[in-house]
């Protein structure tokens, strides 16, 4: 009996303190929790509801429940499928590019034989802070077929440059080239990860007779795999949501010849220019599910290939 009461009296103040701490903690989180409710959960619920209706804000009183029609429509709508293809094609080139390029630049910048490394790091980061719209504006001129520098330089060495943004076969690649300007964040993350690789490991591998390539693939890559993972997730999500630059290059019709009609441009067109907000909500939810599946899949695959340093 005595032990029990003493146990309770010991436990009580502690649990009261715990309750107080929990209350305080949740209060601190309140701004974000309110935001989560009003900026995410409620809108998501409402758009899920819209996606099962023919909602049109101009004819809001005629809203009608139409079941899965909107989702079925995505798979029968030739333009929606095309916009999915345009987005996937971009993703296919952009994702490997945006994972590997910053790593190559980071390897160059962390190489001890390169002088003025800080200057290069600064210059490679610099365009990353330029507004995407301004960057697109500049690239549209630099890649201009007649007056742009790219084709004039290519012409100078005897190559006839393509029509870049104005050629259906080249516009995707040109957009990826434009994204090269935004490698800054990835580069900095790779540099930090590369500098975290313990030098002793290289020394030990050297003693064992491993050449530079083996050292890179067996020591460096595994040790920076967490950053590779992070860049990969980011690149996939970014490509799925590609919008602003595509709008500036191709407008609502996705010039040239619908080749910049990205999924989100189509979503925007359905929702805001055609007022088919029910259908646009279904398009948004489909994207959400797809992005969620990809992200969860990637996080699940982490255990197999991403190396996190333990200890500390």
């Amino acid at each position: 009996m005595a032990t029990l009461t003493s146990r309770i009296s010991k436990a009580l103040p502690k649990s009261r303190a715990q309750k107080r701490e929990a209350r305080l903690g949740l209060t601190m989180l309140a701004p974000w929790l309110v935001g989560l409710l009003f900026l995410w959960i409620l809108p998501m619920g409402i758009s899920l509801y819209f996606s099962f209706t023919n909602y049109d804000p101009v004819k809001a009183d005629q809203i009608k429940f139409i079941g899965f029609d909107n989702f079925v429509r995505i798979f029968t709508d030739e333009v929606a499928i095309w916009s999915g293809f345009v987005t996937f094609r971009f993703m296919f080139i952009y994702v490997p590019f945006s994972v590997i390029m910053p790593l190559l630049i980071a390897l160059m910048i962390t190489n001890k034989t390169l002088p003025i490394r800080g200057v290069f790091r600064f210059l490679f980061y610099l365009p990353s802070i330029i507004p995407g719209i301004a960057a697109t504006l500049i690239f549209l001129r630099v890649f201009n077929v007649q007056t742009g520098w790219v084709n004039r330089i290519l012409g100078g060495i005897g190559i006839e440059g393509p029509s870049w943004f104005w050629d259906a076969n080249w516009v995707t690649i040109t957009l990826v080239i434009l994204e090269f300007w935004f490698i800054g964040a990835g580069m900095i993350q790779y540099i930090a990860a590369l500098q975290n690789v313990p030098l002793e490991m290289y020394e030990a591998a050297k003693v064992d007779g491993a050449g530079p390539f083996r050292r890179f693939f067996q020591i460096t890559l595994p040790l920076i795999s967490s950053v590779i993972f992070y860049r990969l997730v980011f690149a996939l999500i970014f490509a799925m949501q590609y919008f602003g630059n595509a709008m500036l290059v191709g407008g609502l019709s996705g010039n040239p010849d619908r080749n910049t009609l990205f999924y989100n441009v189509y979503l925007y067109r359905a929702g805001w220019t055609l007022n088919e907000m029910g259908y646009a909500s279904a398009l948004a939810w489909f994207l959400f599910i797809l992005a969620g599946a990809v992200t969860i899949g990637l996080f699940a695959s982490q255990k197999k290939w991403v190396f996190y340093a333990t200890g500390d």
Partner: protein, 362 residues
């Protein structure tokens, strides 16, 4: 006279020393050349922008492709109230700079600027093959004209207003939330943190339509409220960044403050915030540029209300109107990127820091 230089040469004289010296120079030299070539290609668009923004745009645009790469202007002659282009005309007495008066397929009439009263000189050949007389020329005309035509004064005012207010709100909300995540134990914390991370990755498109309808229902369309108000509720990236920093402060510091009788808010303001200044600045910078560059929400909410446009909206609009004049478009590019670049140069360290904390440490 055996000078010092001679003795230096002597010491380098042996082949082995020379080879060693050479090897020490070649490695960095090669790397520098390689990095230099890559960075030149990388920054080529910026160079193009600068040379185009400060050139005599009208003359160079009219001349088409055959223009110098540097900012230049072409000489011309005022003749009977008309502006005639001066071309480099090959004659028996060498190349003459003459002004083109009447164009013809096989022969054209020229005026000699040195002696305009002498009247037209006929020249056999196609004037199209002749080059204009270009000279380097630097002008701010495009800058001032595009500033006026796009009304950059207004765009800057708008963008600054939206960005600065948002940064202010977001710093307050994110710091409080980050403090909650970093220092307090409560049920469901892991799940909530998982949700926070998910909001960074999941596509917001799924919230666009209801939010846009909601904002216009409560009368917020064509105002800044939909752009600013969300900052009151924190944003995942900045919360993550600040939390990471707060966790690196020894907990004993909070506890010491608590023992002295400080409540959690006092502790936050007087102990935590002064110790996370770098993260504070980094979060401010990230949010500032996020707002400064944001295109979608201003497009949705401000459409049609031009006096409220932010810089990305103004730029997108001018892209259509400046169609034929690269100089004006590039001048507006220069105007639009100058402030971000200046801010970046000043706060460089914090950008790098923010990127490393959110992308590498986990």
């Amino acid at each position: 006279m055996a000078s010092k230089a001679d003795s230096n040469l002597m010491s380098l004289g042996s082949d082995a020393a020379l080879a060693r010296q050479a090897r020490r120079m070649i490695g960095p030299g090669l790397m520098l050349v390689m990095a230099g070539v890559i960075i030149s290609a990388f920054l080529l668009p910026l160079a193009y922008m600068l040379t185009t923004a400060f050139r005599d745009d009208r003359k160079m645009t009219e001349a088409g492709g055959e223009t110098p790469w540097y900012p230049a202007t072409a000489a011309s002659l005022e003749y009977n109230g008309e502006s005639l282009p001066i071309l480099k005309v090959p004659t028996a007495d060498g190349v003459k700079n003459w002004a083109l008066l009447t164009k013809g397929r096989e022969d054209s009439d020229f005026i000699d600027p040195a002696n305009p009263t002498a009247g037209p000189i006929n020249w056999k050949g196609s004037w199209r093959t002749l080059e204009r007389d270009w000279s380097p020329y630097f002008t701010l005309d495009s800058i001032t004209e595009s500033w006026r035509r796009v009304n950059f004064t207004n765009l800057f005012k708008n963008s600054l207003f939206v960005s600065v207010i948002s940064v202010f709100f977001t710093l307050i909300s994110c710091t409080i939330v980050a403090y909650g995540y970093a220092r307090f134990k409560f049920p469901g914390k892991d799940i909530l943190f998982w949700v926070l991370t998910a909001t960074v990755f999941l596509p917001q498109q799924v919230t666009w339509i209801p939010l846009a309808i909601f904002y216009s229902k409560i009368g917020w369309s064509q105002s800044y409220l939909p752009l600013i108000a969300p900052a009151l509720f924190g944003s995942a990236f900045e919360i993550f960044l600040l939390r990471q920093f707060i966790m690196s402060i020894p907990k004993e510091m909070d506890e010491a403050a608590m023992i002295d009788g400080a409540g959690p808010i006092r502790t936050l303001v007087s102990v935590i915030v002064p110790n996370i200044m770098p993260a504070f600045v980094a979060a401010a910078m990230f949010h500032f540029f996020f707002k400064w560059n944001d295109y979608f929400w201003p497009l949705i909410m401000l459409s049609g209300k031009e006096d409220l446009y932010t810089i990305p909206l103004g730029l997108a609009q001018l892209n259509n109107t400046f169609g034929t004049f690269p100089g004006l478009a590039m001048a507006s590019g220069v105007i639009a990127i100058t402030l971000p670049i200046v801010i970046f140069i000043i706060f460089q360290r914090y950008f790098m820091l923010g990127n490393v904390v959110t992308g590498v440490d986990k």
